[in-house]
Assembly symmetry: C2
Homo-oligomer: 418 residues x 2
């Protein structure tokens, strides 16, 4: 086993505990005292960079900040022209965040580099701590991964935050130069693989009593808005058979959505918002406004689900004399992870004694942006309670150890040209 | 036929057309230019009183305003100690009202008195134009009918409007004296009957192709607020079987309410308000807030319906791990109309060639306040399109004529001591 060459002095328990401790230490660096919040290019981002740079130096590497604000460090292979593997995740957070969504992937990657120590491997490893993934500051996510894949357009650089500051101005205020993004940001040309470790942010691994999952694909998503239009009538004077109750039609539809999606293991469909108008206790609702969010790892299945559910909405309206109008708000295609890397990640987990599940990611991640450009795979770590975007967000030490062992094993078995 | 003694010069068509024309003229007297709105004791109320007083004088009567702001006029019988019959409805309106909800009853009563002309009948007739029924100014309805039945308490007189003005102060500003209410307001001691003509405000008569209905009872009402409490989860990462979707539970319940109420002809049940929290498109709702309005002419049936629907709510929650909490906001008992008067009103309609339906009123009316104190009955006139509380509120001339003929016939056949 090549793992035997690992020379780090720590036990398996303490190396996972150290990753968790570092995540919690990073969580204390915040824009909002008492809570964890690190917006893109905020003062807390600078402090986080200072701490990360210190840890990276302790691992024997030098850190640099690219002109999109990403902190990067390369562990060089003996051969200068060796290809590049990228380990990445993000360090920005939502408001009132937990400690692990993003930072776990960054600090586990750094731990893996520490654990490799001087073990020779036939490729360079770049660690990238993305500065923007959540979309919390500019109401637009994935700006960092778009910067390293050449997609950070002038239009995106002109987007403004709540204070009217543009992305480009925020970059300049951070002491960087947005015009240099095309030079300082792109991934190395000979990058042959990219790997993100991330908490699951859902309840599946916990329900399955499993530590890890390899992500097969990031699901596609359709978002719709529906208007059910009946007639508002007096709740006392209008007998049931003479009503055109828009809310009753919408309610029947919501039940049918739930029933339909439950029949397909990979489909999720959610009504997150509803409004009944005029919205008085004693008036039969004349209008109901409803949103629908549909996700599936196969685009054709998602399209079929949306089409089926729209016919169900019309049927629920028709029996009540209620008209239905649907508007597609947004659509995102499913993004498959690299098959070869996914298989290798599974094998690495197996070799370290872990049975990683196969999963689809129902949430978006930077891996979604990188995958079309470079072979990318993703490893999920169990989220206790399925909790995320919440101060109580957690990870188990045994799961972090499993993830670290799996990543290390992959690094030790990966051959760029096989 | 005693109707032959009627000496009014108008044809049957024009006397109904005149009532309608007067309602529309009154509708032009408003607190809000361009719309019809007459709040209790507003400047428009004073102008309405001036016009009504003029019309009452034309009918040969004198009008007075009691100290709760009600305009009243008595047509005296030959015998001074004759008993009293009251014809009443209201002249206040909701904001942006139609012309007939209230005024039709007042102006049809005045027309009936005009049509009687000098025909001797064995009782006095008091016309009362109530100044407050809708509850629009003080968020509390029926203040006028409570004043004439001795229920306008100091607590109610202290209620304030949006500008902080109390009922008592509003009465004083109108030039009246709230301390004199106990003397100037009560119904005459020997009142033996009270009759209100009102538009149906619903679609039942139109659906049945009928002009009139005699109201058997005003329904009882229960209002509840329910909280469905599940768990908010990520719409992408939470598979359907692991959800505790509060909105899905509420939706199932709304469909069951509709299905259950449709099985009982006299039951109406309405969910008029709904809110899903946190209310984001991509979050499974953790909480759903829903209102329920249940009405039935029999109190025990209403109680049974509420109890049944609450078990259905709990069941809809239980299958999803969603807890349900219900709060009773208000409850109103059903109020039967006087049986003897109701029969006589049916007979009067029949004698004039009209087949009045029997109906329950699903909305509250002043008759509800008078009925426990004095024998009361109510006549509904068809509402085209079931429309009310809307500028397009209307009546048909043929229906108004049917109502007037029925009321006149009742007055000519009624014997106080039979």
């Amino acid at each position: 086993m090549k793992q035997a060459v690992t020379t780090a002095p720590e036990t398996n328990t303490t190396r996972a505990a150290k990753i968790i401790a570092r995540c919690r230490e990073l969580a204390r660096i915040t824009d909002t005292p008492g809570k964890t919040q690190r917006l893109f290019l905020s003062p807390a981002t600078r402090d986080a960079h200072t701490l990360l740079t210190w840890w990276i130096r302790q691992a024997g590497l030098e850190a640099r900040t690219d002109d999109a604000g990403n902190l990067r460090a390369v562990r060089r292979s003996a051969k200068d022209d060796a290809p590049m593997l990228v380990l990445f995740s993000h360090i920005d957070t939502v408001p009132n965040a937990g400690a692990f969504d993003g930072p776990l992937g960054v600090l586990l990657a750094l731990a893996a580099i520490e654990q490799l120590h001087s073990t020779p491997i036939p490729f360079h490893i770049e660690l990238i701590a993305f500065a923007e993934e959540e979309g919390a500051r500019f109401s637009f996510p994935f700006l960092s991964s778009m910067a390293v894949t050449g997609q950070l357009t002038d239009e995106l650089l002109a987007k403004t935050d709540a204070d009217g500051i543009s992305v480009a101005d925020a970059i300049r205020s951070f002491g960087l130069d947005p015009t240099r993004i095309p030079e300082s940001c792109p991934l190395a040309k000979n990058t042959f693989a990219a790997l993100e470790v991330h908490i699951e942010q859902g309840p599946v691994l916990e329900a399955d009593n499993a530590s890890l999952a390899v992500v097969e694909a990031i699901v596609g998503q359709s978002r719709l808005k529906l208007t059910f239009e009946g007639h508002a009538n007096h709740a006392g004077t209008t007998p049931m058979p003479l009503r055109h109750d828009a809310l009753a039609a919408a309610a029947q539809w919501i039940v049918e959505i739930e029933r339909y999606a439950a029949n397909y293991t990979q489909l999720v469909a959610t009504v997150g918002r509803i409004e009944a108008l005029p919205g008085a206790m004693n008036v039969v609702p004349g209008t109901a406004l409803v949103t629908l969010d549909v996700r599936h790892p196969k685009d054709e299945s998602r399209h079929a689900a949306v089409a089926h559910l729209l016919t169900k909405a019309e049927a629920a309206g028709a029996v009540r004399g209620v008209k239905v109008q649907a508007t597609l708000l947004s659509e995102q295609k499913a993004v498959p992870m690299n098959h070869d890397l996914t298989v290798k990640l599974h094998q690495a987990a197996e070799r370290t004694g872990h049975d990683a599940k196969s999963m689809f990611s129902g949430a978006g991640h930077d891996s979604m942006i990188l995958a079309p450009v470079v072979p990318t795979t993703m490893l999920f770590v169990r989220s206790p309670g399925g909790l995320s975007h919440h101060p109580d967000e957690a990870v188990r030490e045994e799961d972090v150890e499993a993830a670290l062992a799996t990543v290390l094993n992959l690094l030790l078995h990966l051959h760029p040209h096989k």
